[in-house]
Amino acid sequence: MPNDITQPIAEKSWDIIVIGGGNAGVCAAITAAERGCSVLVIDSAPRDMRGGNTRHTRNLRAMHDEPTDVLTDRYSFEEYWEDLMRVTKGVTNEHLAEVTLRGSQELTHWLGDRGVRFQSALSGTLNLSHTNAFFLGGGRAMLNALCRHAESIGVTLIYDAEVTDIELENGFCEAIKVEWQGQSLRLNCKQLITAAGGFEADLDWLAEGWGDAAKNFLVRGTPYNKGKVLRVLLDRGAQPVGALDQCHAVAIDARAPKYDGGIASRVDAVPFAVVLNKDAERFYDEGEDFWPKRYAIWGRLVAGQPDQIAYAIIDSDGVKRFMPSVFTAITDTSIEGLASQLGLDPKAAKKTVDAFNAACPDGPIDQMKLDGKATNGLTPEKTNWSAPISKPPFYGYPLRPGITFTYMGVAVNDRAQVLMRDGKPAANLFAAGEIMAGNVLGQGYLAGIGMTIGGVFGRIAGAEAARVLNR
């Protein structure tokens, strides 16, 4: 039976219910509420941990033809498009990609008008100031501002509420079932917007794409994205998009928490290190490109190694070249000593490092540019910043794949309507954010584009849902 708290929520006939209180969901809610709709936002996390991965984000990627208050230079549609095509290798829905990019143009202003503050680009931002607008204080501050605005225009937000089912027949959604405040509620709505994130926190589901390797993944993102809503949608006939094993994953410190480690779990040592697998062998060019352009491939690289573990080894010269890490490096005066501390075969590690050192060119490296200081005759080659690992003490960081978010989701059209298996759009069911990011991001990753997809499609979903209601 509904109680005093749940009754007003349960008895109301909502114009729009939004599942998921992150960036995409709240953008949708605000857009719809501004058009006069009554809106309920349901988040599965407690209030302190609300908003899915938005908490862990820092910026969004926005096209702009001239400098703005929060972005330098210009980032043209063409440049943005090329960047997206490069990382996805064309695995994208080009029409929806274009909608995303064009929609990104007014996103910073739209958010700014609703209380979100951006900062001028400072240090540690991976030199993204011409492509990415940074939230002052990061994603949680951004979400706080958005939620506050949403509440000020009448949106109701509830937390710790788990959606267990969506009544979806012939592409029409009647109601949803929610566990909240110890009660099972059936909530009616005219339009439903799903913005409930991916399934990165469900290791079993990840294993369907990755096999046993998934058990060694760390989940850098929120522990609340278990993909329950996505599962319901797929079970109820929504058309899937994207491959099961596609995700944004980086190499993070293996000592990071199993869930929710976020940005601080990063290790930026790789370009100045040698990276060994558990057999103490190198497996990829550590100096292929600047770290901001390569960090996103290292999650997959480590995932492909035995036991999904790798070790970045660096000397006392190299250790000063990157941002400090949250976990203190494991330190030793010799490579053998470090190797045994890391659980590597000391002799094999020494041999690999010696071979690397012998292949390094002379002269200092220049980390400010692609300096072309490549190893000579080594496989795999290290193509830039190759300097011997020779000056003790030596430092080691264990690395694991850290998954931030998954790409497999539901297919949508340019009105953010969920497409059913027959290819027809659902009548009153929309999707925005991670749950449909795979439409645009088939593979690869472009910093800040997750928030852009969420913001753009959140707004579209909110506007379209309101439009169907003649608002």
């Binding site: 407690p46 302190d48 941990m49 908490r55 862990h56 820092r58 503050r117 900062q119 001028s120 400072l122 240090s123 540690g124 940074f134 939230f135 002052l136 204080g137 990061g138 994603g139 949680r140 501050a141 706080n144 506050r148 928490p257 929710d260 976020g262 940005i263 601080a264 779990s265 990063r266 000063k320 941002m323 400090p324 890490s325 949250v326 203190t328």
Partner: protein, 385 residues
């Protein structure tokens, strides 16, 4: 461990001045923050943090005194409790900052006065008040004390000017020496470096506008969203009240200084006319000081419980309230100075003022000292990096 254990004949131990637990928590938290850096746009603390890879105790003293305890970074923090990292920067820095006041205090054996500072300040100011009022009641003939005095020198009918001035002069000498020694201890402990005049100018600007309570380092010196006090909503209320307090205090100080110049330079004795400079400065100063301290008190009460450092509240409240009484009794004196209540009001005002200044080096007032020193250091670091 007593704080005085580390004092040596030629100085003090630079390593172990702060409570290891408080300093350790700051170092733990800063290591997490330094790998995240999302908050770097809020204030001076985070840019200062990014200039370091590791943190020692001196860094803790420095960063703690750069922080305004506003809560912007707490509400923005993806690692705040209930996250297992349990990051709470304002709380950690507040604990270390409170501890640093005692650590830098001079004379060091009195550092313990910062322990139960609310009680001490209350007692100190009350003692000053009781003593002054008591002595005057005892020494001054009732018909004089309760009489009506008009015209130049009216106040000195109650208390001779030499005595009225001698007491604060003696107190001031102690206060100034104490501040200089405290500053020295801060400067050496934090390893601050004097980088030249521009750093000083920048620190003055930052103090004059309370720039770092603006909530956004990139905004203009007077704009900015402000900082959260209660919930995560930002406002400039605390910044405005603080500046009313500071400028009110400075105006009152200026009023006294101008009065002194009138007295010795031009042989003109108080009370002065309502539209003369000392009274105008004092009246405006007193009014905005009252408003500022009342506002700060209210803002302090609204502080988010997670951000608030409960152990330091006594010190904060006692300081704010005594400052309020300093200004309020001054205004009261102005209002009743032509009545028979002038004597008793003057006694009360002087008593509060004497008490307030006597405990100054062991009150929250020192935050201004170390904050200003930290701002100079921060300006220098920013210019050199």
């Amino acid at each position: 461990m007593s704080l005085t254990d580390n004092i040596e004949a030629d100085g003090f131990d630079l390593k172990a001045l702060l409570d290891p637990e408080a300093a350790g928590e700051v170092i733990r938290v800063m290591q997490i923050c330094n790998a995240c850096r999302y908050c770097e746009g809020f204030c001076a603390v985070f840019p200062a943090m990014t200039r370091r890879r590791q943190f020692d105790e001196g860094d803790v003293g420095y960063l703690a005194n750069l922080c305004h305890n506003c809560g912007a970074c707490y509400h923005a923090c993806q690692y705040a409790p209930p996250h297992e990292f349990g990051v709470n920067v304002p709380q950690a820095l507040a604990a270390a900052r409170n501890d640093s006041y005692a650590a830098y205090a001079w004379p060091a054996p009195l550092a313990g006065l910062f322990r139960r500072n609310g009680l001490f300040v209350t007692l100190g100011v009350s003692a000053g008040l009781a003593l002054t009022v008591g002595l005057m009641l005892a020494m001054i003939a009732p018909q004089l004390f309760w009489g009506i005095h008009l015209g130049e020198g009216a106040f000195y009918q109650i208390m001779p000017h030499t005595m009225m001035a001698a007491v604060p002069l003696a107190i001031s000498a102690f206060v100034v020496v104490s501040f200089i020694m405290g500053w020295r201890r801060y400067w050496r402990h934090t390893g601050a470096k004097w980088g030249g005049f521009p750093d000083l100018v920048d620190a003055v600007k930052a103090s004059a506008t309370l720039r770092h309570l603006g909530g956004d380092t990139s905004s203009g010196i007077l704009s900015g969203p402000g900082c959260p006090t209660g919930d995560d909503r930002s406002s400039n209320a605390r910044r405005i009240y603080h500046q009313l307090t500071m400028y009110g205090f400075l105006l009152c100080f200026a009023a006294t200084s101008v009065g002194t110049i009138y007295h010795y330079g031009f042989g003109r004795e108080a009370p002065y006319g309502y539209f003369e400079l000392p009274v105008v400065l004092g009246t405006i100063g007193g009014i905005i000081l009252c408003i500022g301290t009342a506002g700060l008190f209210a803002e302090k009460r609204r502080l988010h419980p997670a951000v608030r450092h409960d152990e330091g509240l006594g010190m904060d409240y006692a300081f704010i309230v005594s400052l309020f009484f300093v200004s309020f009794t001054g205004l009261l004196l102005l209002a009743v100075r032509e009545t028979s209540f002038m004597g008793v009001t003057l006694a009360i005002h002087l008593g509060v003022v004497y008490g307030f200044f006597l405990i100054l080096p062991f009150s929250k007032f020192v935050h201004g000292l170390y904050r200003f020193a930290a701002l100079i250091a921060s300006a220098g670091e920013a210019r050199r990096s």
